[in-house]
Symmetry: C2
Subunit: 321 residues, 2 copies
Amino acid sequence: MGEFELIRSYFAAAPCAQGGEGVALGIGDDCALLAVPQGEQLAVSTDTLVAGVHFPDPCDPFLLGQRSLAVAVSDLAAMGATPVAFTLALTLPAVTADWLQAYARGLNRMAQACGVALVGGDTTRGPLSLTMTVFGRVPTGQALTRSGAQPGDWLCVGGELGNAAGALPLVLGQREAEPSIAEPLLAHYWSPQPQTGLGLALRGMASAAMDISDGLLADCGHIAVASGVALRIERDRLPLSNALLAFLGRPAAEQAALSGGDDYVLLFTVPSVRLSALQAQGWPIHVIGRAEAGQGVRLVDADGRDITPQIRGYQHFRETP
Amino acid sequence: MGEFELIRSYFAAAPCAQGGEGVALGIGDDCALLAVPQGEQLAVSTDTLVAGVHFPDPCDPFLLGQRSLAVAVSDLAAMGATPVAFTLALTLPAVTADWLQAYARGLNRMAQACGVALVGGDTTRGPLSLTMTVFGRVPTGQALTRSGAQPGDWLCVGGELGNAAGALPLVLGQREAEPSIAEPLLAHYWSPQPQTGLGLALRGMASAAMDISDGLLADCGHIAVASGVALRIERDRLPLSNALLAFLGRPAAEQAALSGGDDYVLLFTVPSVRLSALQAQGWPIHVIGRAEAGQGVRLVDADGRDITPQIRGYQHFRETP
């Protein structure tokens, strides 16, 4: 048995590979088999993380295990899907038992938190990268898409923005900060919490939804295009954490919230008649603006003046904000 | 729009990304949505191909497009699943329009041949590698697994063995051969034909099945372990092509058939009462041995003498047979 065959056996024995609801056949055959209840569809998403591009190399493998799965499951949350399972394609330059054990521990912890089972994958030799494919189920016709926003809908996010982008100088060891600042920022970077509960609550309520991975402005652009509306963001409504404000100051914190990436909080539009019902359920919903007739994304200040910066996508940690 | 965003738009416009039966929502949102008919399950498999490990670097991107998808769809054939869709995670060191166009043409051709739609994926910068996740549907309880072989079952393969392994010296430019030899061998390496039709025919007929990717002996070992039987292979029944015999001579051709990999033909066991019914349907079935009580894999000569070599898995093209 070769070393990569051994790794496969190792993952097959991991707690998160022991099946779950909806998994009819797990690791060990040519395919896994997923059962999809009548009246539901399967949501599928694939994400690749490359060392040195999407995460620092080297980095803590336990934290990487958590983050790599969380990033992928966040796409299920964005569709309003219930997480079911995932596959892991892991490419490694060499087999190191310590690295693998720590990675698998992080993966297991996030898998348990998200309720997903590892059902298959591949392990190959090469430069370090990970591709996760995640599976969720959603009642037919109820998936949240990017295309249903209507003029007049509220534009909302499911949590604070900019924390992960603000954490980058800490992640890269370029700056230091006291624990009360560093810990919450680093936690947001390394252990984003996919908002699957909020995603389920948004079914039948939100008119459009996605998760913020490329930065608020860029991702608002995706909803605006898909829905054929304009989106207006009020700068003073951006939810910013105390840690981010203390670390960067307000202007840079706002910039991190607008153009930083890796937030993995939900971005969605809600018809005004439904907003109070959602808020009454206690979800951490922040109204940051509104959908309007037209196209494009505008940022306005407290006086309604257009202060839209040039919109560009987040280029991961190679460009710190 | 960044160059990788452009690539995503490019793949989204590809013919194979325009949906298909079972695809409720294709490329362009956080997830794709797959519809699974009542009474069926979804078969899922993930395969990674790394440049320099699983294919030569550089290589013809059109041929790589064909091969990368065929290798993954072969796992659906092995489960008796009807191919539906796939995702592509493509990691590229740089964006080259010529390379991408040729790759996409090869991918499209194989997608059309296999009846699968591209429903999502990711495109990232890094050392060249590809991860395909493929989806198929199969009636609940009818998937072919590795675990049902019984003593007395015939051991069969769905086509000639060793051609892809035999092609390696040609693929790597280490040897040359006249077209009548080189062309069929190279075709088998670069454009394996997933045996999805045979896989469907084996539902309810075969007791165990898989596709041969690691080499006949190694893959027989997987069925033997999963089913709790011994498998006996008769060397003189190995189906060898004229091109392979002419290129390598009989001893090396047999070695390629036994320990070479990348065949992507189905390996299966069939209760003796069902074999003639399958053969009557005209499938290219070669009986190569039999399942017996016990464990392990044995190779025997025409006189029934044990000539089992040391069994080892195929290490892709780094080790030519």
